[in-house]
Symmetry: D2
Subunit: 409 residues, 4 copies
């Protein structure tokens, strides 16, 4: 497999050229029937290891250079949140199973293995640095013991929490490269810190790779990382690399918390799904912006990562992923002549895909409740959501719908 450079080191690989990540597991496995939407249950690694392995295999075939252990959102406090049954397994067992699975699949193929941590309910409820970092260390124990090639701290909408995580991981796992990735847009984090400045804060906290993941579409994420690059370079951090792992959903209309605010989240996002040609454009633009770690998050299916691999083939020594379509060349074998006539880059690159949805609009009205850490409705707790709590949320919803919010469109 030509993409395997023989170089073990993650940072060395980034120095040499693009490193391709994998796609998000929770949304892909929910569609396959192994993860529950809402709690986004990582216990699939214990209950359905074969399904998790299969998805790792598919991303590998599509060209991923890094396989991330499926431990998303598996902090101890999150596993217990709101009646989640995952709590009975505990973070240790889940992370161990995830590491075992990913190593079994990734190492024979020459892929690197990443561990990961992400935002915690503890931050939302307490904003207490010591408590938050304790949660981080609990998550990292298995990664430290079992050994990983890199750590990804990802999915933060408050840069402050990301800084605390980076510091904790750097301290707890010395020598392991640490990536720090926020789920914010091209403007600011949820507390109003400008995106470019967030990049600098993460560099100061010690992150080796800095960027954006989840919450927004590829093109908005590129805009956000570009701002980080500009500020981080201006601040003199010359060795820092940049990363991007966006949604595979188009979200021009998403507000401060990204696709979560869209009314279609999480069960009706289909019409927003990116095509493989949009992914090729994404890969090209990200690479040209100077981003070297290029992967995906929620919504990415193996064929999306494959499109990234196809686009960056020249930059990876001519490597072609399994199932490459080469701008539709395979269509020359189709039985219909008008389909064979579509076998060209020009055709697919210029196509604006019809939606087939004459009753749908292109933009949606976001939920913009304007509440964050500290608001009663945002507090996280272990018991399941009862009728009373739901009623409060619905009342708040009704109140918010009477507030006219102008979307920038």
């Amino acid at each position: 497999m030509p993409r395997a450079t023989g170089v073990r080191g993650f940072l060395e690989r980034l120095d040499r050229g693009p490193v391709i990540g994998d796609g998000g597991f929770v949304v892909a496995l929910e569609k396959r029937g192994y993860v529950e939407a809402g709690p986004w249950t990582p216990q699939a690694v214990i209950e359905h290891p074969e399904a998790v392995k299969q998805l790792h295999r598919e991303f590998l075939r599509a060209g991923s250079d890094v396989c991330q252990a499926f431990t998303f959102y598996a902090s101890e406090d999150k596993l217990k949140n709101r009646g989640n049954s995952a709590g009975s397994y505990g973070v240790k067992a889940i992370n161990q199973a995830a590491c075992d699975i990913v190593k079994e699949v990734a190492y024979p193929e020459g892929s690197l293995v990443a561990g990961g941590v992400s935002q915690t309910p503890t931050y939302m409820n307490t904003t207490d640095k010591a408590l938050v970092q304790a949660e981080v260390r609990k998550q990292c124990a298995v990664f430290k013991e079992t050994g990983v090639d890199l750590m990804i701290c990802e999915y933060y909408d408050h840069v402050e929490e990301a800084e605390w995580h980076v510091e904790a991981v750097k301290d707890f796992m010395p020598g392991v490269p640490v990536c720090a990735s926020l789920c914010i847009n091209e403007d600011t984090d949820v507390h109003g810190v400008p995106t470019g400045e967030c990049g600098v804060k993460l560099a100061r906290a010690g992150a080796d790779v800095i960027g954006i993941n989840c919450h927004y579409d590829p093109f908005r994420c590129i805009k956000a990382v570009k701002k980080m690059i500009k500020n981080v370079k201006a601040a003199g951090f010359d060795k820092v690399h940049f990363m991007i792992q966006p949604l595979a959903f188009m979200t021009p209309d998403a507000s401060v918390q990204g696709f979560i605010d869209l009314p279609e989240f999480p069960f009706a996002l289909e019409p927003r799904t990116c095509t493989r040609f949009e992914m090729q454009r994404y890969a090209r633009e990200a690479y040209e912006a100077g981003i070297r770690y290029i992967g995906g998050c929620c919504g990415f299916e193996p064929y999306h990562i494959r499109a990234v691999s196809e686009e960056l083939s020249a930059e990876r020594g001519g490597y072609q992923p399994a199932g490459a379509i080469n701008w539709g060349e395979c269509l020359l074998m189709n039985t219909k002549p008008w389909v064979r006539a579509r076998a060209s880059k020009e055709y697919w690159q210029n196509l604006k895909p019809g939606t087939g949805r004459p009753h749908s609009s292109s933009f949606s009205k976001c939920d913009q409740w304007g509440i964050t850490a500290g608001h009663e409705l945002m507090s996280q707790h272990e018991e399941a959501t009862g009728d009373e709590a739901l009623k409060k949320a619905l009342e708040f919803k009704k109140r918010m719908e009477n507030v006219e919010i102008i979307i920038n469109a």
Copy 2:
């Protein structure tokens, strides 16, 4: 598993209540990296048996009562068409592998196993009944030997070819229930035979179950099957059952050969993908129209079949598939209160999903070349498409684009 009734017979199951099919394999496996678009290579059953098994497992978890061996479009003449490398395996080896795989997965779960045949290049090139039926028998040899619970003759746009296939299968595999399914719309087949009348012809040919699959969205397929039901009942065929296995893509604007004519086929159909709630509406409307075999075709992912199972739970003794979302009840465990507020049937049933695509229109301009069996460009042959042949197709395309065709919208 409550849906397993203990009844072995396919037709007896249909008499008792809804029988849920599975989804299409070629499109799903293309996205996972195991099938090539264009030739839609069924040799995946030999080259990647684990990937095929995994998809069978997922549909089973989602509630399928019938698992169809993955032998789509695997007639001997098709395998050799236009430079397809599958020809070296041959129909016998492919069908045997497909049967072995499906039986291994389906039988332990109490699911039925279907064999299948579909339209042949031989019909397109010769319209010679004897030659066409010879191709059918070649395909059925393995099914007959290994034993299947039912045969599905599917994906015909000329009712005439479907009749020939049904007759051949009934004759070759006596005692096996035969389904006959066309890929036509609510108006006529490609030769102009009205859809209702097509149903009667299939009944006369001996089909036990009659219906529509592929090429159009669920709601257009329901309209088409309704016309078949009306005519078939009027013609006195009281015991015939009806089936439907539509696309999971919205195609209000598709012309005579369905989604193949849409400019987005096959690589940019994402915005048209049905949501699970559209699938629940589909299942309900199909059932209420009197259709008893309800499944899916291209574009169906496991979660689409799961939505069908959820909707028809009461009709199947309360059976709930793995991963049922129950109109979003699982969202009550989400961390954001505005997402928890979406945990209701009313919310999802009424949502018109935004497309996130301000540069896309809802309808596309179809390729409508108006050519069919007999036209030079439609003839199928073994060698790969060369430059000269492609040039001819592109010239024809250019000519067709200057012909103004009014779409009924």
Copy 3:
């Protein structure tokens, strides 16, 4: 003015080539501030004669060969309906003022003058032929006395009422050519009579010119008239001419009573407004279908009629209307080079105009209450709509919204 052939006779003009009508007055004058939406008050001819004259002048400049007296919906029973203040003027005074105005403007320019009658509340309430025809004669008294070049019986959604009107007018105004125009779609009238058959009924009733006006967009109206042409010709009426006066609004999604069922009627139809290039296409397609009287109805502004004139210039001896844009040639005088680069037929003919409306969908959900003559809510009466009556309508609306109606899209 080259378009004036010197021939006085309306039917002789139709025999020679296309005759261009004018546009609808009620919608255009409502926007200018002289007509009230809802009652669509024709008393503007008495209260604001100058505004009515100006609109006649503009349509004439745009190329109209026929000017219709502005007496739309001015039957005695309609003028009194639901608290309308027009009742105090009476049909005689209104029609006399309308005739005086149109003759003053039209005759010096060589244009023909048309009188008109349309559907009556009396038909809706009684379906009594004698009463309905008495209303017609009341309307025609002024036209008979003052003299008109032709009579237009228009805007019927029941062909039966149109037949009664044609008979009455033919009988009351012998020698005057009579046009009969329904406001139905390409399928049937509101009582289910197929559109083609409606044409035959009107021919049998004695109409000289038969066609469609209002309620649907140009392209759906062309489809409807084509069906009339086919049936009327097949029935042997060789001398009958055909007419079309459609909306200037795109209505692919309108149901049985056309744009009135659309939720945007009558105050938010702007995004549906046809461009002048769509009007040129309309004129060409109508002419090629064999339609000779080509005009407009609601939504037509003078520039829409001008576009029809431009398109049919060759067929009218090279006549060019005032203000002709000649596919944008005038843009060559623009200050911006990219605007000058738009001065071509190819540019405008191929443009699909963007909507600028990312929160709008292309199709709307129609009101489809499924009630017609005979239903309590459809009965017309003189007193204004009170709270009780409105409440009943709103309750019915609520009931209808829970009935799922599938639109053919």
Copy 4:
């Protein structure tokens, strides 16, 4: 007429409450057949005075407090530009005719009369202050002699030219209030001066009223004026008032030169036309932002100004314009019950109008040639555009279309 306060002074009226402007004349009169698109010929005041008077009358009925003489873009250098036939009349004759017309109509109704100047080809070609101001004085000669209540300097995309005009007018017509209005968006003028700062520059130049007109939709213009208000107030100009006269077209996707860059300009903007309810929202938001002079520009028809008047009725002593629809109350007289059920504010305020255009997208791809004053293609000259010049523009167009420009959406 209650809106006439008896106060003659324009600035005093602004101190007391909202002053409503009129709509744009060139686009409205082009549709009626009296103005040519491209050169936007103001000679209509000489050739068709009755048509111009009628439009003034309609805006007055709709509630305009200010009537602007129709002298748009009538500087001497512009009248001669690119083969325009208006040059033979000359600016003096045109402005005199325009003043005579507007005074005859406006004064009997108590409306104020405005003269106007706008951007000049001389600025584009020379950026020579003395030459530009000489053009301004030529235009103002008639206004000074005949007397006007206010002067409007409007439609500048370079704030520098606007400052020069304001200075020249203040100097030439002492004592006359001067409005200064740019046609720029919420970001910057064409030279990159931030919009808020542009406001300060205009205040320093002596403008009494400052704001935005043309080029963008009402909601983008409000955003732009808000930025001006903020900066102008911060700079201590306490007595300055603010104005807004936007397009009546929705332009979320327009780039630096507004709707001129949209591919639909100027002949296919119909789907973007604002509804009267969008205009009511516009009037309310503009008033709440502190804007006191609220009118319209291109695309405004009398019913749009009427909607502004309706919305601000309470703020103008309860004044209701002729033809007020009062959120559809007039529909209570309609014959159809489902239309009567639409007679409410809630219905119209919440309606998202369907476009009826399944082949249109909501956003368009703008021409973004990125050229301005100084570029060869931007130079203005008297002779008509010849083949050679057009060819150059088309070649440039082709080149620009291969440059991928990412629209912020």
